[in-house]
């Protein structure tokens, strides 16, 4: 499988501030990071001939990518609005790399932003969160999203002996990373005891096992490796990518303790020609703490059932065997709705460029980024390299 290995690179990234950012419009959450990413790359919007977006909860145009291109004054040869839930951000990199490698376009702008914290009423946030189960076969039972992830957490605990303390250790580790980042939404101290004593939402998941609700946006510029060599930043190569979709509704999942990340990861690793033990840092989708444990296992970083102990032993902390979510992830950095996961990508690029300041993983050369969408349903893995 040759894929687009060594053919495509990320050459620009841009981010807005995150947390409560009421002074930006939903489209500005796309345009501001886009302009920053172009500046970062040393390009202008007139260099862009591919545009990928997802849209935002607050302003979700049916043809969002075309509206965004129009707003920016870009006339792309290749554009799409992609919706795979939390797998969208990584899937957009997959699509961009595929399009560039196939010669469909030269330079793709990926922009994803949302105004989920200050742009929606509490009622709309709750109503949207409730709107996930199958309308006939799940929703009548009160199938809230955290409840459906709790079903997976309970099963993992039953089969592998995973504990609430091990789940909490994910949130605590990421909070420490967020403190080192300095620009995260939540940076107050968090202990295992704090997580376990936070409000129980759906047993065994507490409030602090759940990701934040945020405003924020980020953008990424992808182009050919050839062109990347002449641009401002050190190119970060897209070495491999893969997707895996096993179901949408959790009642249709074949196994609640193994997810499609296994297939997505296998494809990405095969394309990149590397193995899990080669990866220096991983940015793993973390809508709920249980997901990080499942991804560590299904992507091959831990044997099945051993991720809880790995996390509890400091394995995902900075200084550990595999630092994970060094920006604080969605549990502490930000979780801007439809843009969830885009900051995992920009953080990986910073790590590989050596621009991660006080949270830099020493000599980071290979990073894996993974997005999980729906109810452990859609998966996209991207492997990035400094060389």
């Amino acid at each position: 499988m040759s894929g687009f290995k060594r053919k495509v690179a990320i050459v620009g990234i841009g981010e807005t501030e995150v947390g409560k950012v009421p002074h930006l419009s939903p489209m500005q959450f796309h345009a501001i990071p886009a302009l920053k990413a172009l500046e970062d790359a040393g390009l202008t919007k007139n260099d862009i001939d591919g545009v990928l977006t997802r849209g935002s909860h607050t302003e979700d145009f049916a043809m969002h990518s075309a509206v965004f291109a129009e707003y920016m004054g870009i006339t792309p040869r290749y554009t799409a609005k992609i919706h795979l839930g939390g797998a969208t951000s990584c899937a957009m990199v997959h699509h961009a790399a595929s399009a560039v490698a196939a010669g469909l376009c030269d330079t793709v702008l990926i922009a994803s932003g949302d105004k989920r914290l200050s742009g929606l009423t509490r009622e709309r946030v709750v109503a949207q969160a409730a709107d996930y189960g199958h309308p006939q076969f799940e929703a009548p039972y009160g199938s809230l999203m955290v409840g459906m992830y709790a079903l997976a957490a309970r099963r993992h605990m039953h089969v592998y002996g995973t504990t609430p303390e091990q789940l909490a250790a994910v949130a605590v580790t990421e909070r420490r990373h967020a403190q080192l980042h300095g620009g995260a939404q939540k940076m107050d101290p968090l202990t295992i005891e704090d997580v376990l004593s936070s409000r129980m939402v759906a047993d065994p998941l507490h409030a602090s096992d759940c990701c934040l609700i945020s405003d924020g946006g980020a953008a990424i510029v992808v182009t050919t490796a050839e062109r990347a060599r002449d641009l401002k930043q050190k190119p970060i190569y897209i070495l491999g990518a893969g997707e895996g979709s096993t179901h949408e509704h959790i009642s249709q999942a074949a196994d609640l303790t193994v997810c499609g990340a296994r297939f997505a990861g296998e494809t990405a690793f095969a394309m990149a020609g590397v193995k899990p033990s080669d990866i220096d840092t991983a940015m793993l989708y973390d809508c709920f703490t249980i997901v990080v444990l499942m991804l560590l296992e299904d992507l091959g970083f831990c044997a099945k059932g051993e991720a809880g102990a790995f996390v509890q032993g400091g394995g995902i902390a900075l200084g550990g065997q595999l630092p994970v979510n060094t920006h604080g992830g969605m549990l502490s950095h930000s979780a801007p709705g439809y843009a969830n996961g885009i900051f995992h990508l920009t953080e990986a690029v910073k790590q590989l460029r050596g621009q991660a300041a006080g949270r830099q993983v020493p000599d980071a050369e290979l990073a894996l980024v993974h997005g999980n969408g729906g109810m452990l349903s859609t998966h996209a893995a991207v492997i990035l390299g400094a060389h």
């Binding site: 006939q136 076969f137 799940e138 009548p140 039972y141 409840g147 459906m148 709790a150 099963r155």
Partner: protein, 138 residues
Amino acid sequence: MADAKKPIPVPNEDSMEYWAGCREGRLMLQQCEACGHVRFYPRILCTACGKTDTRWIQASGKGTVYTYTVVHRAPSAAFKEDVPYVLALVELDEGPRMMTNLVDTGDRKLEIGMPVSVVFEKMSDEISVPKFKPAGEP
């Protein structure tokens, strides 16, 4: 939101026999005539072999708890009076898994693998939804 109603299923061309069964207190599943695979939710093809020849069978209504969670925060105002409630996946004796609520659990300790049996809860004249209670309960 105070007058919010729980989402009531709207039967369609795939599911009308299923909901008709529920209305009469029968849990109906589809079985593939070609390979024998039993599936849920209802649809036009067998998810195992892809064939479309299908018969409807009445399920025993018995199964075991595959996983569950006790929900403490209502997803909408309509569920506020229900919390805490038990959201569960039940594996039917016929094979398929379905989402449901565990009801009438009393003082029973909830656990994965516990045997349960179906009861039907009326939501409207047309719709009754299958829920499950611990098997062997008086």
